[in-house]
């Protein structure tokens, strides 16, 4: 067994454990910390695939900014252990089998979709950050500028939603 495969299985196991912990923890702050574990493991997988810039953005934006926002809101609202209410009958009976079926169908579909691709894959197919930035700022420059408007609107929306009294 070669080294990348071992690293992959360690990181994949960590990610799945984190996701399971997200489901099973009763307290939201524990779920948030489990989600951070998943995100760091995924950043490691991106590094393994040679996507250094995406790995860095994953750590800084997802693991840093977004999760800090989540933890901040959990602490701001003083969210405790989630209370048990009477469970939806439909979700209880059909939810888990359907979710497992969805997982299986997705895994089968995406795993089969790479059969044609395997021949194209080559070892050392790295993604240099320079080529990524050239692509981002030439071919995708209009979507990139549109995202700045999206962020602006989101900031305004967050301020309007969270303010206590009308301006």
């Amino acid at each position: 067994m070669n080294t990348p495969l071992i690293i992959f299985f360690v990181l994949a196991f960590t990610a799945i454990l984190g996701a399971l912990s997200l489901i099973l923890q009763r307290h939201p702050i524990h779920s948030a910390l489990s989600l951070i574990v998943v995100m760091v493991a995924l950043a490691g997988l991106y590094l393994l695939m040679g996507a250094e810039f995406v790995a860095a953005v994953q750590i800084i934006v997802y693991g840093g900014a977004i999760m800090v926002l989540f933890v901040f809101v959990i602490m701001l609202l003083n969210a405790g252990v989630e209370e048990r209410t009477n469970f939806s009958k439909l979700a209880g009976w059909a939810g888990l089998p359907l979710a497992v079926a969805l997982m299986g169908v997705l895994a089968a579909a995406v795993a089969r979709s790479t059969d044609r691709v395997q021949a194209v894959t080559q070892a050392g197919a790295t993604a240099p950050t320079k080529a990524l930035s050239v692509l981002l700022f030439q071919e995708f420059v209009y979507p990139f500028e549109l995202t700045s408007f999206l962020i602006l609107v989101a900031i305004l929306g967050a301020i309007v939603l969270a303010q206590r009294e009308k301006i």
Binding site: I23, V54, Q58, A91, L96, A111, T121, A154, A158
Partner: protein, 100 residues
């Protein structure tokens, strides 16, 4: 070299776990975090396909998904603060004004 379909199966598993969390959790913040988990799973599939085809478009899409997730988190958490202020509860079963 790890085969691409290993990454895709991991992505499907993480997405499915996100769906399970979305269905079974009652706390609105945890439900919101399970949406982030599903977005992360899709990002993993994007990067895996990007590596498989040896093209960088997939990684650019991942950057856009992260930007949209950040905007969604900002607005969504504002809505959660509003729900807590109006209902004094984070349980989704207590937000049932539209329910018959």
């Amino acid at each position: 070299m790890v085969p691409t379909h290993y990454y895709l199966i991991l992505s499907a598993i993480l997405f499915g776990l996100g769906v399970v969390a979305f269905i079974f959790r009652r706390n609105i913040i945890t439900i919101f975090m399970s949406i982030e988990l599903m977005l992360n799973a899709v990002n993993l599939a994007f990067v895996a396909f990007s590596q498989a085809w040896n093209r960088l478009d997939g990684q650019v899409f991942v950057l856009f998904v992260i930007v949209v997730a950040a905007a969604e988190a900002a607005v969504g958490l504002g809505i959660i603060i509003l729900i807590q202020r109006n209902r004094q509860s984070l349980n989704v079963e207590r937000v049932d004004l539209l329910k018959l």
